[in-house]
Each structure stands twice: as structure tokens, then as C-alpha cells.
């Protein structure tokens, strides 16, 4: 039990959860066939907002985390309004620039403490440990491990909640509109779907959740600086999503978990990690642009479930 619950393993779980949310935020814009390269910027906005609100305004942590996400979404409007009405790569370029600008601002503003970053951000583990100290005493776990354990649990619940939310959304009217916009913008527009509205919506969702991921990062690492939200973060998030499978929701969590755990096991290769990531992106695009989990793979996997006691042919008919 102790071996599983040591701080290191819990840390990896925490990072996996945050990376899953980040990868999902990349996936959300891909849902409408756009690409956002500003996820690190939105993460940074969320992280600094939440950190400053808890440290200087004394806001409770959950409220600050949500406000961090909302702040990121509000800032996303600046980039989104001019770009979502255009076709093509404009969103990618503008968000790329946005990420750079946020980094420069964070380096130069007084409230973000420049290149030194913010330290002493209220820790989620400590807060949870204090809250549940009675329960932890009964279970005979010390407050620190208990706090970390609870933090993992909270993060897992958040991840599951986001996945559940997006799954529900994908099966709603909105999700079908997203899919239509992704498949063919012209056809979607001709079918009466307001494409700008839906492109904007998916982009704002993406920014919101990137902001939440950033806020969670701030309260789990307890220290943030502009270098935490560099271009590399964007490339990593993009790779999580593309590697796992960029066409299905389950691809992002899969990719994020594999690519967070694997580097921990292959410590020797750490200095070549970015090089390998670069090669992986190129190779994935050349040989398997859909990633591990493509739409077909997922369909085959769900088919095999015994609950579907329908004959193969009937099931196919039903799909039509």
C-alpha cells in the first residue's frame, strides 16, 4: 500500500490529470476543425488569475479555479472574435501570437512578479488535508499523504466530470453541429448551422478548460513562472491529443496518460524527449494521422460488447 501511495506516484497521477484536461482543451477546438496553439497562454491566464485571487483577495480555492477558467475564456474572446469568422489557419496563427504575448506580459508585469514567478500559492493538498484531518486521523494516514491522496481524488473527479460533460455535449444538438462544421463548413452553413457561433463556442470551451487546467496546475505545483507556459507546453498538449487520437474524445486522455507516464519510466531519454516528440509528430502525420484511437477502432471496440446482442447485420442496418 505504501509503495503505491508514495508521493512520487501521486505526483504522476496529478500531472496526468492536468495533462488530460489540457489535451482535451486541444481536442475541443479540433472538434470544429480549427486548431488553437494558445493553450499554454490560456493556461497561464487561468493559473495567474487563480493564484492572485487566492493569495491577494483571499478567495476560496474552488471559486478562484473556476474564475481562472472564466478569465481565460473572456480573454479568448479577443482572439476569437476576429478569427472564428474566417476560414483557414487564422485561429492557429493568432493564438500562437497570443501565447507569446501572454508570456511577455507575465514576464514584465508587476502583479505576476516577472521572471521570478509566483511562489507560495495556496496548496490544494494542504487545504484538503486540513479539511479532512479528522477523517484522516481515523484512517491513520498522516495529513500530508492524505492531502495528496485527496487531491488526486478531486482531480480525477474533475477529469471524469469534464469527460462526462463533453460526452453529453457531443451527443447533443451542439455536438452534432460541431461535427458538421468539422466535416464541411460550406455544407454545414447551407444546412442552416451558424458556423461562426459554433466555432466560437468550441474555442471558448477550449480556453475555459485550458484556464482551469492552469489554475489546477498553480494549486498543485504551488509555484508558477512564465517558463511553465512556454511553446513546449503547447506542443506537448498537441502531441497528447494527436497521439491518442484526435478524432475521438477518448484519444486525448489516452495520449495524455501514456505520454505522461512513459517519460517517467524512460528517465535516461529525458534529454532527448523533445527531439523524440518532434519525430513522433512527423511520423504520426505521415503514417497514422488519426492517432491510436481512431473512429473505426473505437467502433470495433464497442461492437464487441455482449450488451449488443443484436445480429451483426441488424446493427449495421440500424446505423444507417
Amino acid at each position: 500500500m505504501d509503495e503505491i501511495l508514495n508521493g512520487y506516484v501521486l505526483q504522476v497521477v496529478v500531472f496526468s490529470c492536468i495533462n488530460i484536461i489540457l489535451a482535451l482543451s486541444v481536442y475541443m477546438t479540433l472538434c470544429t476543425g480549427q486548431m488553437s496553439l494558445g493553450n499554454a497562454g490560456f493556461m497561464s491566464v487561468g493559473a495567474y488569475t487563480s493564484a492572485i485571487l487566492t493569495m491577494q483577495a483571499g478567495l476560496p480555492m474552488p471559486a478562484a479555479i473556476v474564475l481562472g477558467g472564466i478569465m481565460a475564456a473572456v480573454v479568448a474572446l479577443i482572439v476569437g472574435i476576429p478569427t472564428t469568422r474566417l476560414r483557414g489557419m487564422y485561429l492557429a496563427i493568432a493564438t500562437l501570437g497570443f501565447g507569446e504575448v501572454v508570456r511577455v506580459l507575465a514576464l514584465n508585469l508587476k502583479i505576476t512578479n516577472g521572471a521570478l514567478g509566483l511562489s507560495g500559492i495556496p496548496s490544494m493538498a494542504n487545504t484538503l488535508g486540513d479539511l479532512a484531518s479528522d477523517l484522516l486521523d481515523v484512517l491513520d494516514i498522516d495529513t500530508q499523504t492524505g492531502g495528496q491522496l485527496l487531491m488526486c481524488l478531486v482531480l480525477l473527479i474533475v477529469v471524469v466530470a469534464i469527460l462526462w460533460f463533453w460526452r453529453r455535449l457531443e451527443r447533443s444538438r451542439i455536438g452534432r453541429a460541431f461535427a458538421a462544421v468539422k466535416a464541411d463548413e460550406h455544407a454545414a452553413e447551407l444546412s442552416g448551422i451558424p458556423i461562426v457561433y459554433y466555432k466560437m463556442m468550441s474555442f471558448l470551451f477550449s480556453a475555459f478548460f485550458a484556464g482551469v487546467a492552469g489554475a489546477l496546475f498553480a494549486h498543485t505545483a504551488n509555484f508558477i513562472s512564465p517558463t511553465d507556459f512556454s511553446w513546449h507546453k503547447v506542443v506537448n498538449a498537441l502531441l497528447y491529443c494527436v497521439f491518442g487520437g484526435s478524432n475521438v474524445m477518448w484519444g486525448s486522455p489516452l495520449g495524455a496518460v501514456i505520454l505522461t507516464v512513459l517519460p517517467e519510466l524512460l528517465r535516461d531519454l529525458a534529454e532527448y524527449r523533445d527531439m523524440l516528440y518532434g519525430i513522433m509528430l512527423v511520423a504520426l502525420m505521415a503514417f497514422r494521422p488519426d492517432g491510436i484511437l481512431s473512429y473505426d477502432v473505437l467502433k470495433r471496440m464497442t461492437r464487441k460488447r455482449p450488451a449488443h446482442a443484436v445480429p451483426e447485420r441488424a446493427a449495421k442496418e440500424g446505423d444507417r
Binding site: R87, M89, A94, V104, L238, D274, G278, L284, M285, A286
Partner: protein, 293 residues
């Protein structure tokens, strides 16, 4: 003061223009954004630096060496990262992702080879400072500016007068028609990516000379500036990219001189947002072309 800033702005702008032309050329023939361009620019700067410090070459030899190196990198980029995607049907985002992979690979390779510290050209390349009354200009600024102008003139001549240049223009206008008219479009694409990359590498040497700071992470900042110019000039518009480069250079220098010095990188972003808001087809394009549906 004003003229001094104008000179500095023109000098910076000439480098931006050369970078942006690289994006524009590739966008023209392939309709993609080459995210690895900034890293090829950075490699060009380092190759030039190596030729000067390790081989003792003079600055023009270094420039040509960097351009050759850039062309080789461009060939590899096209052959390994772009060509496989053209063979199969992929989304329009695939080349973007693929070139992002190349860019992160090149950046970490440069970190591995040259280390993270900032390097600079030896001081004798600084040259004398000439006083022209209204402004001062250094020898290296003149060399850099003139080289950029010469490169742009040569490129214009290449595209307008030679057979291969006309083929590039035809391919960027319509790739299928160009193919039907007997142009080997695959070869033209390779040629264009190599040409764009060698221009990017040349810009790397020019920027390395005039700012005396070469580091592996410089590619990212520059690629964003180049993309800002690309949008300003209009996608695929070479003359627009030349003009846009000068506009961005001058705007940045003046915002530093008369405003907040640490926010010069925000100028390019502000320009992107304003342009996309009011004139998404770019400043120098005829209406009807560009991003508006």
C-alpha cells in the same frame, strides 16, 4: 531621433521582410503554414556563426554557406515531413502539425549542438559607426539592409523572368492547372520550399549580425513575427510580405522608442488582431482574395 529610429526600423524590417517571404512562398504553392521556418532561420544564423568563428570565413561566404545549409534543411523538410502527407488524403491541419514537429525537433537539436547560451558574432564585424548628421548608421546595418534588398530584387527577378520562377507562380495560382500544362509540380514544390528555407537562413545571418544575439529559442519569436507579416501582407502575396516586413519593423522600433520597451513583441500581435478584424485579406491584396469566405 526620428531619423535614427527610422533607420533602425528599416534595418529590422528588411530582415522581417526576408523571413516573411519564406512563409509566403511556401503558402503560395502548398497552402500551408510552415511552422519550421523560424527554426530554419535559427539554424541559418548558427551556420553563419560557425563559418565565421570556426572556419574564419568572411561575412558573404557565411551568408552563402547559411543559404546552402538552409536549402538542404528545406529539402529534408519537404521530403520527410510534407511529401508523405501529399500522397494521402489528410486534413488541412496535418501539415501544420507535422511542421510543428519538425520545428520542435530542430530547436532541441540546436540546444544539443550549441547549448542554450546566447552567442554573438566576433566584434570586428560590428564595423565603424558612420555619422550622417541626422542619424548614425553602422557598417553592419548598411551591409544587412543592402543584402536584404539585393535578395528581394533577385527573388523578384527569379519569379518574373526565369522559367522556373514562372512555374512557381503558376503552381501557386492553381496547382492542378499548372500540372496539366506540363509543369512538374512536385519538383516545383521542392524547389520552392528549398528557396524559402535558404531565404530564411539568410535572414538568420542578417538578424544575428545586427542584433548580435543568436540562441536556439530565437526561432519561435521570429516565426511569429514572420506570420504577423504574412497576415499583414495578405497570404501568398510576395510584394505584400516585403511591404509588411518594413511596416512591422518600423512599428516595433517606434513603439520601443516612444512607448513601452518591454512590449515590443506585443506590437505584432496587436497588428494581427487589427488586420484580421478590419481587413483579413491583408493590406496589399485586392479584395476578394484571402481568408474571408
Amino acid at each position: 531621433m526620428f531619423f535614427q529610429q527610422l533607420i533602425n526600423g528599416l534595418n529590422l524590417g528588411s530582415a522581417y521582410a526576408v523571413i516573411a517571404i519564406g512563409y509566403t512562398l511556401v503558402f503560395g504553392v502548398l497552402n500551408i503554414i510552415n511552422m519550421a521556418h523560424g527554426e530554419i532561420f535559427m539554424f541559418g544564423a548558427f551556420i553563419g556563426l560557425m563559418l565565421v568563428t570556426a572556419a574564419g570565413a568572411n561575412i558573404f561566404v557565411a551568408l552563402i554557406g547559411a543559404m546552402l545549409g538552409g536549402a538542404v534543411l528545406g529539402f529534408l523538410l519537404e521530403y520527410l515531413a510534407l511529401r508523405p502527407l501529399r500522397r494521402r488524403k489528410v486534413t488541412h491541419l496535418a501539415p501544420l502539425i507535422s511542421t510543428i514537429g519538425v520545428s520542435i525537433f530542430l530547436e532541441s537539436l540546436a540546444l544539443k549542438i550549441w547549448g542554450p547560451q546566447t552567442q554573438s558574432f566576433p566584434p570586428q564585424f560590428e564595423g565603424a559607426l558612420m555619422d550622417a548628421g541626422l542619424f548614425k548608421v553602422s557598417m553592419i546595418q548598411i551591409v544587412g539592409f543592402c543584402t536584404a534588398i539585393v535578395l528581394m530584387v533577385l527573388l523578384t527577378l527569379l519569379l518574373d523572368k526565369t522559367k522556373i520562377g514562372k512555374a512557381v507562380k503558376a503552381t501557386s495560382e492553381n496547382i492542378e492547372t499548372a500540372g496539366l500544362l506540363g509543369i512538374n509540380t512536385s519538383r516545383i514544390i521542392t524547389f520552392t520550399v528549398m528557396l524559402a528555407s535558404s531565404l530564411g537562413a539568410a535572414a538568420g545571418v542578417l538578424v544575428g549580425l545586427s542584433f548580435n544575439a543568436i540562441e536556439p529559442t530565437m526561432g519561435m519569436t521570429m516565426s511569429f513575427k514572420g506570420l504577423a507579416v504574412l497576415i499583414m501582407g495578405g497570404l501568398g502575396n510576395i510584394r505584400g510580405a516585403m511591404m509588411g516586413g518594413f511596416i512591422l519593423g518600423i512599428a516595433e522600433v517606434f513603439s520601443v522608442a516612444y512607448g513601452a520597451s518591454s512590449y515590443r513583441d506585443a506590437v505584432a500581435f496587436g497588428i494581427i488582431i487589427l488586420i484580421l478584424f478590419f481587413r483579413p485579406e491583408g493590406l496589399f491584396s485586392k479584395a476578394g482574395k484571402g481568408g474571408r469566405p
